[in-house]
Amino acid sequence: MSSTTSITIILSFIGVVAMILAAILTVLDVRKLQNLEQEIKNNCNVNDAEDYQDFQQLGRQLTKLKNQLLKSDNREKIRLMYENEGLIHEVQEKIEFYVNVKPAMKKKLTELLRQESDLGKIDYMNKIIKLLLIKS
């Protein structure tokens, strides 16, 4: 077997193994996020009827805000987000208070609740609220 063939085989093999490793890493990332959602479902503390109604009301307000954002231009979006800063902050704090997960998972949850994109933030908050309300 010539040296070129050996190099080709070895480096090609390393390349394929590295790609498979990348695929495994991605799948593990996905599993971690799915486990976070499962933990939220299993360990939430929304037992009070009043808190339940609070969350429902917040969910409705978030949906209304999202619909307004979708219809607005950039200037209007900035104004809406500025006016609803209190609402966003209240939902983030409430979710972080009621969700009872491990610190590493809580860090990821906080990162997603405070993501840069406004629509992404609202969608994710709505998703978590729905998870909390299903369990309750």
Binding site: S2, S3, T4, T5, I7, T8, I9, L11, S12, F13, I14, G15, V16, A18, M19, I20, L21, A22, A23, L25, T26, V27, D29, V30, L33, Q34, E37, L70, L112, Q115, S117, L119, G120, D123, Y124, K127, K130, L131, I134
Partner: protein, 150 residues
Amino acid sequence: MKNKIFNSRLWISYVIHSLIPLLPLLVKGIIGSIIDGGINIDVPTLSISVAMYTIGTGISSENFLLFIVYFFVACLLLPVYGAIESSSSGASNTNTLIFTIACWLILVVAMITSFFESYKSYVIECRPLEVKFAQNLIDLTSNLSKTNNS
């Protein structure tokens, strides 16, 4: 609330980020089949396409470790191809075949990984699409479907 796999954001982003970059390879295959009568993607096109695809997928990944792995794979492919071509015993059928198989395997795994990345970003993390016209199209269709239902 389930993370649905039949999510328009997921599939639109997958087409834009992962399938459209493979168009040059597809066009080369189609033109080759028209001219030569059989699908014949030559090794230079394949190696460069796969290397660029992995770099592009790595750059769009949020995980730094994944970016390193993708970049490493891309850096492996081009020198291997160069070694095959420049060596005196280099471009033999065996070497070309081994390299071609490796490139196709890497491409398939990269496409699968890219799908999982899109699923993570757009379905689980609820991030909106960066491409404005695609996001507007999704919002328009979801508003229309809500109007029809009401």
